[in-house]
């Protein structure tokens, strides 16, 4: 992770992509979102969606996994260059999450993030709060996911 001071509003990154299989769609839905259109092809064919599609929570959770993996790759590159790596803190939450189109079996979603706002934390002087718009887009270029997240990012020592 870059330090809070090294991040700029407007910074963008593609964090990764994921192809959703029927097996994982059903496995996730069985555990967390057991609606017929996430569990069974025949039931999905008779639903509003028309075909088996992923739980919206599943689509969002893949954003999280790819964001963690993306940061891990960036941190490794930074360490290889001998640069310090900032800590990432917890997230207070998110807002304005929209499932814009269904994610069907076989769809590949490309996830991206863009920095919207940066402000120092009033209660934690070692940390700043980064707000970002996160998106998922399928292989046809249609948006499937959008939400606005916030997270604590470590500040550089001596610049607080």
């Amino acid at each position: 992770m870059r330090f809070f001071e090294d991040i700029a509003v407007g910074d963008q990154a593609e964090i990764g992509r994921h192809t959703f299989t029927a097996e994982e769609i059903k496995a996730f839905a069985t555990r967390f979102d057991p609606q017929p259109f996430h569990l069974d092809e025949a039931a999905a064919a008779h639903s509003l969606f028309g075909r088996l599609c992923a739980s919206g929570w599943h689509t969002a959770c893949l954003w999280m996994r790819l964001a963690v993996e993306h940061r891990r790759r960036e941190d490794a590159e930074r360490r290889a260059r001998g640069e310090p790596v900032a800590a990432l803190g917890i997230s207070p939450g998110f807002r304005d999450l929209r499932w814009l189109n269904p994610v069907y079996v076989g769809d590949t979603v490309t996830y991206a993030t863009e920095v919207l706002e940066l402000r120092p934390s009033a209660s934690r002087p070692d940390w700043g709060i980064m707000t970002a718009r996160n998106t998922g887009t399928n292989q046809r270029g249609e948006p499937v996911l959008s939400f606005i997240s916030s997270v604590f990012v470590e500040r550089r020592k001596g610049q607080r």
């Binding site: 509003l48 893949l62 917890i90 999450l97 499932w99």
Partner: protein, 159 residues
């Protein structure tokens, strides 16, 4: 009790789920799959983090809330999903061994302008621990079938 329609979600109504205990194994398993940050996987790393001790991913809390609601009043209603989530706030960490419940409070209801067969219900959902403390809040407006529409489709089937 017959499944609830949109008309049955009166503002101020409160529904509570059964309690469910969350194990360390499922916290670590979820994190390994969807949020592999050391603070959700490893006790020592968690102690050094802002969480102070091992705690579930916030996305895991969202998914557990969804499941508790699915088994409870969603299964007993004409639920038609939600186009999104207005806001989620993670207020306190969910620790291993904690027993959680979901609480749903109806805030308001409004008919759909474009689709008269359904309506929106705005909820405050809370994930509550065994001491009654709120761990997370989620504000969302899912859709439910309206009674008139359901009666009409039943008439078509029987007629």
């Amino acid at each position: 009790m017959p499944p609830r329609h949109w008309e049955d979600f009166i503002p101020g109504s409160v529904f509570e789920s059964e309690p469910r205990r969350v194990t360390r194994e499922e916290i670590v398993e979820f994190a390994a799959a969807y949020d592999p940050q050391p603070m959700h996987l490893d006790e020592e790393a968690a102690r050094a983090s802002m969480l102070g001790a091992l705690a579930a991913s916030g996305w895991h809390s969202c998914c557990l809330l969804m499941r508790l609601l699915s088994d409870g009043f969603i299964a007993q209603s004409h639920f038609m999903g939600a186009p999104g989530i207005e806001e989620v706030r993670w207020l306190k960490p969910l620790r291993p061994g904690e027993s959680i419940r979901a609480r749903a409070t109806v805030l308001e209801m409004r008919p759909s302008r474009s689709r008269p067969e359904l309506g929106f219900v705005k909820f405050l959902f809370e994930l509550v621990d065994s001491s009654g403390a709120c761990l997370m809040t989620l504000r969302v407006s899912p859709m439910f079938a309206r009674r008139a529409a359901a009666d009409a489709s039943r008439d078509e089937v029987s007629g």
